[in-house]
């Protein structure tokens, strides 16, 4: 029983220890060496702290031909909704309007406004209502979408949306300070976007 316990322990610790020794460290060593060298000169007796690059998988380089699929990473603060999912197209609600992203899209940084984001994979379309956030589209056909809140459209309650819209419109009309006006305006924007998402 003790022998099996030790093998169980080693089996559980080896994959954990293997993560920092993945190929990331070798690839990003030249990038971080300036920091660790400067560190060692000033504070030789303490190990330099890690930096986020060592905990990330390196991104693939831009291929010469346009790939067939778009890789989407859709992250929220409390979950990674989609991570490295290969899709055909994504429509994101940028602040300038809905924009469709296909593989080979030019590199873009887009700020999102509250609206519907749809992910098209073959014949399936998944729609989410995102509150706001950012979208980065890289040249290697990887799209990173970071939103603060996102819900699938079928979980939204229409009556509550109407109530919220009425409430915030009324607050906007009765707002006195700039701060109150801005907050009420945000509420109106989000609820009207929700409304149009549910109806349209």
């Amino acid at each position: 029983m003790l022998r099996r316990a030790t093998t169980l322990l080693t089996r559980s610790t080896i994959p954990l220890r293997a993560r920092p020794f993945s190929t990331d460290v070798a690839e990003t060593a030249p990038a971080d060496s300036t920091f660790s060298d400067a560190w060692k000169k000033v504070v030789p007796h303490i190990d330099p702290p890690r930096t986020p690059l060592t905990f990330m998988k390196p991104r693939p380089v831009t291929p010469s031909s346009i790939p067939t699929k778009l890789t989407v990473n859709f992250v929220l603060p409390y979950a990674s909704e989609l991570s490295a999912k290969e899709v055909d197209m994504v429509i994101i609600p940028a602040s300038t309007g809905h924009m469709g992203v296909l593989p080979g899209h030019v590199a873009t940084i887009a700020e999102l406004k509250p609206g519907v984001m749809s992910v098209h994979e073959g014949a399936d379309v998944t729609k989410y209502f995102v509150s706001s956030g950012f979208a980065f589209i890289h040249a290697n056909s990887i799209a990173d979408i970071i939103a603060v809140e996102a819900v699938p459209l079928d979980r939204v309650d229409a009556s509550l949306v109407q109530k919220g819209l009425a409430e915030f419109t009324q607050k906007l009309n009765s707002a006195s300070t700039d701060l109150e006006k801005a907050e009420a305006q945000i509420g109106v924007d989000v609820h009207s976007a929700l409304n149009s998402a549910l109806t349209g």
Binding site: A31, R50, L53, M56, L76, P77, F136, I146
Partner: protein, 323 residues
């Protein structure tokens, strides 16, 4: 009459015999002022017994604290692992530039409010102080923003004038993104910065916590670095979708990045705190167990010595009567 003589003899013997077992006991644990009062016949095991009771209570408390920390760790570990995807897009876009040299550095040290969690808070403070030293130079200033009581207590001693903001009682309510974004907003409003360096302990496993520093640059520095080339060089190749100007978008981006990185950092540090507390309490209960074993041996020896003393008294008393 014989009993009275025996008792008188016993009393004369007791102070002669007692010092030896007393010396053995005294040398192990009991401090000098707790001597057995003279005139008492048997050696008191009361002191050792009191000690054993308190050590046993401590063991129970530390075991309970370990269980509590384990259950809290389980709850928060899920949240921390889910939030790990949040900072990766920013690092993929803007790269990681810990060696950037700026005029106004702000070091955000994340620590716990409660103690008894091993060495993680001291590690964070050590790294923060080292970063301060690393970034010291002419025309450069480095300030601290402290989250958590423990780092505040350590840093206030020698860097009091460098501390800009102190935020405590983060974990009164369960950690969530809204709370952290309010804190990030507070910091962004009140602190002038060129670069934020967020120091925290990243949770790798229950026994391993890696001190990590994440760098968030202000929009002006991002522009400067992208013009200079290097890692941020191809930032210009990105089209900016948005009605506002590029600098406004970059400003929003920097603020959003700060709140996302802070959220992940706070969660990871909370996980590390619970994990460190688990291992600290575990080793503490193990130590208490060992101490209890040693005390039990001493107790038994004391008890047997007192019995032997009584027997010797009786037997020598009896043999004195006979012969």
């Amino acid at each position: 009459m014989a009993m009275v003589a025996l008792r008188r003899e016993g009393r004369r013997f007791a102070p002669l015999i007692s010092p030896h077992p007393m010396a053995a006991v005294r040398s192990s644990i009991i401090p000098a002022e707790e001597q057995v009062p003279l005139g008492v016949r048997s050696i008191s095991t009361q002191i050792v017994r009191n000690r054993m009771k308190s050590v046993k209570n401590i063991q129970k408390i530390t075991k309970a604290m370990k269980m509590v920390a384990a259950s809290k760790l389980r709850a928060i570990q899920v949240k921390a692992e889910n939030s790990r995807g949040l900072w990766q897009p920013f690092t993929a876009l803007l790269g990681d530039t810990p060696s950037v040299s700026v005029k106004k550095d702000v070091i955000v040290t994340i620590s716990s409010d409660k103690g008894l969690c091993g060495g993680i808070n001291s590690t964070s403070v050590k790294i923060s102080k080292a970063l301060h030293k690393l970034n010291a130079g002419p025309e450069k200033e480095t300030k601290y923003v402290i989250l958590g009581e423990k780092a505040k207590a350590q840093l206030i001693r020698d860097s009091k004038k460098d501390i800009e903001l102190c935020i405590t009682e983060l974990q009164k309510n369960p950690l969530n993104y809204t709370q952290v974004s309010v804190i990030a907003d507070d910091i962004l409003k009140n602190v002038e910065f060129d670069a934020f360096r967020i120091v925290f302990n990243k949770f790798q496993s229950v026994v391993s916590f890696l001190p990590t520093v994440s760098t968030v640059l202000s929009p002006e520095i991002v522009e400067r670095e992208s013009e200079a080339g290097g890692k941020l060089g191809d930032l210009d190749s990105y089209e900016i979708e948005g009605g506002e100007t590029k600098s406004e978008i970059l400003q929003n981006l920097a603020e959003f990045q700060f709140s996302c990185v802070m959220f992940n950092a706070v969660l990871e540090n909370a996980c590390s705190e619970q994990g460190a507390r688990m291992s600290a309490m575990d080793s503490s209960s193990r130590n208490a167990g060992e101490m209890l074993d040693r005390l039990t041996l001493t107790y038994n020896r004391t008890r047997q010595a007192s019995i032997t003393t009584e027997l010797i008294e009786i037997i020598s008393g009896a043999s004195a009567l006979e012969g």
